[in-house]
């Protein structure tokens, strides 16, 4: 019997959304307690700021250039390395409950296992793994999957259809009649992707994910070692939490986020300093990727809409925290607590009004890159609580899981296990973290590479539809925590810029070519 692992992820959650990270709106006592009694990483970055590449990094321990999921819609090969498979081979029982998204969600031909399993009413598929043997899909004995609503072909959608069909139409319809990400507005302010959802709270996917996690844990023997990835689809848009919960946060009571310049001229002036794709998305003249509504123009976003979207996200985060609390109590009731490591994080962030924007895309700033990440080691491991300020990435999670299990670090991973404190980080060379973006959407090409080191974020735009490869962004977080001032072309900062670029060039993995095909928009 070894240390068990509860790995909790949310989707598209901001660093500042939690009480332990300075958040003052959503009440998140369960997550805050994990931070207080564990290790809180205050500079954790994803290696890509959208779901599929980021989640592929989590499971493989590799950067996108290596695992090859270079944008949403590109499938992680079924024989790609998987830390779940490594743990399973070591005797762990393994499960992923909630949102997986290593494969496209828009899959009308049911080519991919994630959408095929629910249709076939099964919870895994046997696949040929990297070593040629047959093993459960991506190393999970049990996959019980959900996404952001009742549509589609995953287990949660099927459960809603079979048990609560009246709730199906209550969710926001994510796609419009052209199958584009819907720009339809709702709520009190007509904010995009906001809807008052009449669904009962206990039928909503947050509670379903917790319920199904507990059901799987309950199926295990007392002495089993287990790795359970509990993956909440929220607070990713659409923002349609159960209407019964809206009283938790009244959007009219909220201050505007610090990152939202209230004056349009100020917003436009800030955006004009950045690489061209920022302002061209803001004014609606260039939509580079599928992660935001095609027919929504950010310049139309109002202050009240920002408030309402934020309120909805805070409510969703409270529901997640309460769901986590229920699972932790269940783990305690099984007598497992002293041997369970808990890691909490998310796959990427969300603008939530910063710069006058919502959603996400090729924008490497804290809104999307600074993630909540907390590791509460098993009490039996006697690890001293700490705050780690050194830069770390999701790319370290696979090695961390292996180290918790007492296994050698797998050869396939590209980053060591997370540091236990800043001294450990310094000793083991946690100095910088990398993030990549590539996207091609029907001829619109955007690419960028980013390094964060020593309190600086430096992004080089790659040659593409709008950029010739000479553009970029450089931010000094000490003086400019909101990243409003782009120093890329400032001659006084040329030396630090060039040093960061050289560091990035020497540490960024070479991209595996040819790029794999895009199988879906998302």
């Amino acid at each position: 019997m070894g240390r068990r692992i509860l790995f909790i992820t949310t989707d598209q959650q901001r660093f500042d959304s939690l009480g332990c990270n300075g958040g003052t709106i959503a009440r998140t006592p369960n997550i805050d307690a994990l931070a207080k009694n564990g290790i809180n990483y205050t500079r954790a970055h994803p290696q890509n700021v959208v779901c599929m590449p980021s989640r592929s990094t989590i499971i493989t321990g590799q950067h996108p250039s290596t695992h090859g999921v270079w944008m949403n819609g590109v499938t992680l090969p079924v024989d790609a390395p998987s830390i779940a498979a490594t743990l399973r081979n070591a005797g762990y029982k393994t499960a992923l409950v909630g949102k997986a998204h290593f494969e496209p969600l828009l899959d009308p031909f049911q080519i991919f296992a994630e959408t095929r399993m629910a249709a076939q009413k099964v919870f895994t598929e046997m696949q040929t793994s990297a070593d040629g043997t047959l093993a459960p899909h991506r190393g999970f004995d049990h996959m019980e999957l959900a996404t952001h609503g009742g549509q589609g072909s995953v287990h949660y959608a099927q459960w809603i259809r079979e048990n609560h069909p009246e709730a199906l139409g209550q969710f926001f319809m994510v796609l419009d009649h052209e199958l584009e990400v819907s720009a339809v507005g709702g709520g009190d302010t007509n904010a995009p992707q906001v809807k008052f959802n009449e669904i009962q709270r206990e039928w909503y996917h947050t509670d379903w994910v917790a319920d199904r996690t507990m059901a799987w844990l309950d199926s295990l023997g007392a002495d089993d070692d287990w790795f359970c990835w509990m993956s909440f689809p929220d607070p990713h848009h659409p923002w349609d939490p159960p209407k019964s919960e809206l009283g938790r946060v009244n959007w009219r009571d909220l201050d505007l986020p610090q990152g939202y310049p209230t004056d349009a001229a100020t917003r436009e002036s800030i955006l004009a300093q950045k690489s061209l794709h920022w302002s061209k998305w803001y004014d609606g003249s260039f939509v580079s990727n599928y992660e935001a509504p095609l027919h929504w123009i950010p310049a139309t976003l109002t202050a009240d809409q920002v408030r309402e979207v934020n309120a909805m996200a805070h409510i969703e985060n409270e529901l997640i925290d309460e769901a986590i609390g229920r699972v932790l109590k269940m783990i305690e009731s099984r007598g497992w607590t002293s041997d369970v490591d808990i890691i909490f994080t998310t796959d990427h962030g969300e603008f939530q009004g910063d710069f006058g924007l919502l959603f996400k895309g090729p924008y490497h700033v804290d809104s999307l890159m600074r993630l909540p990440m907390i590791w509460k080691p098993a009490p039996s491991a006697n690890v001293t609580p700490a705050v780690v300020t050194a830069p770390v990435g999701l790319v370290s999670l696979a090695a961390t899981f292996a180290s918790i299990a007492g296994l050698p670090i797998p050869e396939y991973v590209e980053s060591p296990a997370l540091p236990l404190n800043d001294a450990d980080a310094a000793k083991r060379g946690f100095e910088s973290v990398l993030t990549e973006w590539d996207s091609v959407l029907f001829g619109k090409i955007i690419g960028s590479r980013t390094i964060h080191r020593d309190g600086w974020t430096c992004t080089r735009m790659l040659p593409g539809t709008l950029h010739d490869g000479t553009e970029g962004e450089l931010y000094n977080h000490a003086n400019d925590p909101l990243q409003h001032v782009n120093l890329w072309n400032d001659s006084q900062h040329r030396a630090i810029r060039d040093d960061l670029l050289a560091d990035m060039q020497s540490t960024m993995p070479e991209q595996v070519l040819p790029l794999r095909p895009v199988d879906a928009p998302v």
Partner: protein, 130 residues
Amino acid sequence: MGSVRRSQHIKCSPDEAWKIIGDPSRLHEWFPIVSCRVEGNKRWISLANGLVFEEDIVLIDNYLRRFQYSIVNNPIVTQHLGTVDVIDDGHGECIAIYSTDMKPNVLALGIGAAAHNGLSKVKKILEGTK
């Protein structure tokens, strides 16, 4: 308009590949669908999720080795032209190319994924039977 193209080199003669790729009634043997039915210049294909697509067969050119079809009478698909070419690679083998141009744009990507899957399967079929 959403436009995608997928291709696959196949170690067999163009004529051999064309026998299966150019026959609209044999689509289910290699493309990820459960069945297809051809009547005159009409074809109906059934997907695993129960969806049925009605198609017009636009062109079967045995000289060019080009097959074209169009999804019609569909509540979602407003424009579509699918083209499958089998081209001699100059060394006695062939390249199969599956192109789709359609609205809604994003559905082209899904058909592209199916085409990638299908071309991989037809390659296995043809190279395995050589």
